[in-house]
């Protein structure tokens, strides 16, 4: 058993209201893609409300900003879900649904296995990445850091 899990946060700014026709394609994919994540190898946890997704959680001053927060057993399993599953086909439309905001929009960090990050913590990790660049405290897919020592694998 790995002693650490990988937490990921990414934020996206809606171009149009979530209940409008422009976002209908995104909304239609929420359930199937979340189900795909839940069943994906290495999936541990994701932030969700009783609706089954996190679209109602708007933790920034700009209420168009949505947050996606999840925990995975490893970088490889998260990468496989994000870039090598049907999820990739959905992300093709990201710029039709979301505006490109200032970097960074995604941060990764290791958490002790069994712990779940909070939204406040995730916001802080994004700030750390913005101010310090990729470090073990907050990094990216392109500049990853290994699981902290003490791992048994």
């Amino acid at each position: 058993m790995a002693t650490h899990h990988l937490a990921q946060v990414n934020i996206a700014t809606l171009r149009y209201p979530l209940d409008g026709p422009e976002l209908a394609g995104f909304v239609a994919q929420l359930e199937p893609i979340n189900a795909l994540a839940d069943a994906a190898p290495g999936f541990v946890w994701r932030l969700q409300t009783e609706d089954g997704d996190a679209t109602a959680i708007r933790p920034f001053d700009d209420e168009r900003v949505m947050v996606n927060l999840s925990v995975w057993s490893s970088l490889e399993t998260l990468r496989a879900f994000v870039y090598a599953s049907r999820h990739l086909g959905v992300m093709r439309h990201r710029r039709a649904w979301f505006t490109r905001v200032a970097d960074p929009y995604l941060a990764l960090w290791w958490v002790p296995a069994g712990t779940i990050p909070t939204v406040a913590e995730a916001k802080r990790r994004l700030q750390v990445l913005a101010s310090s660049g990729p470090t073990p405290a907050a990094f990216t897919f392109r500049d990853p850091f290994p699981e902290p020592a003490g791992a048994s694998r």
Binding site: L88, G89, M91, R100
Partner: protein, 226 residues
């Protein structure tokens, strides 16, 4: 990371030179087309040469980085009497590229991709790729078998039949799609949609179907246009 970021190395030139030999070329192409691990016997049979000669040439191809060798037992038997593991060959992950005079398109491509990513111009890139695909598809001669398959083969996708679908063994943009997967795989899908449209096929036959070890796009037998 970028294979083609300067003058060709001695190793690149040696690798390309090696493929001039028809036997080595046949062995290399057999291993590539197999899409997985190939034994000496299989490769020898396909190339129509003896096992010893095949082994010699296969090991030469490993030496210059065109193939990779692994050892694995082919039978289920274990322990004494199981025999020693067979030497198996597959295409090496690395790239061999040479351009004379030196051209560094790879560097340019990474910078351009980074800029498109930063500015969020995904949709503009997809539209450009679609147009480029349509143009290339329209230029494709109609005679000589399924146009899409020939076009994809000519563009290095290495298409192969998988039931009713056509899958693509090679990603022609591998380094770039590794670094900018969302951007580049979407560009690739738009390009292939354009190729289909250009040869008069429904663009909706192209779908995103990523899996390790192959291109993210597959061509289905039916139109999936949503």
């Amino acid at each position: 990371m970028a294979a083609m970021d300067g003058a060709p190395t001695d190793r690149d030139l040696a690798a390309i030179g090696l493929l001039q030999d028809p036997v080595r070329r046949a062995l290399y192409e057999h291993v590539v087309a197999a899409g997985g691990e190939v034994s000496r016997n299989q490769a020898a049979e396909a190339a129509g040469v003896g096992r010893g000669l095949a082994a010699f040439h296969l090991d030469k191809l490993v030496e210059v980085g065109l193939l990779e060798a692994t050892f694995r037992r082919l039978s289920e038997r274990r322990g004494p009497g199981a025999g020693r593991p067979a030497k198996l060959y597959r295409r090496a992950a690395g790239e061999v590229a040479a351009s004379l005079p030196p051209r560094t398109y790879e560097t340019a491509a990474h910078l351009l991709a980074e800029t498109v990513e930063q500015t969020g111009a995904d949709l503009e890139l997809q539209a450009a790729a679609r147009r480029a695909g349509v143009r290339a598809g329209r230029r494709q001669p109609r005679e000589g078998g399924p146009a899409v398959e020939r076009l994809l083969a000519a563009r290095g996708y290495e298409p192969y039949r998988d039931g009713a679908a056509l899958r693509l063994r090679n990603c022609p943009f591998a380094n770039l799609s590794g670094e900018f997967p969302v951007l580049v795989c979407a560009m690739n899908l738009s390009l292939i949609e354009g190729l289909l449209e250009g040869v008069g096929e429904p663009p909706g036959r192209a779908v995103m179907d990523p899996a390790p070890g192959r291109c993210c796009v597959a061509i289905t037998s039916k139109d999936n246009q949503d």
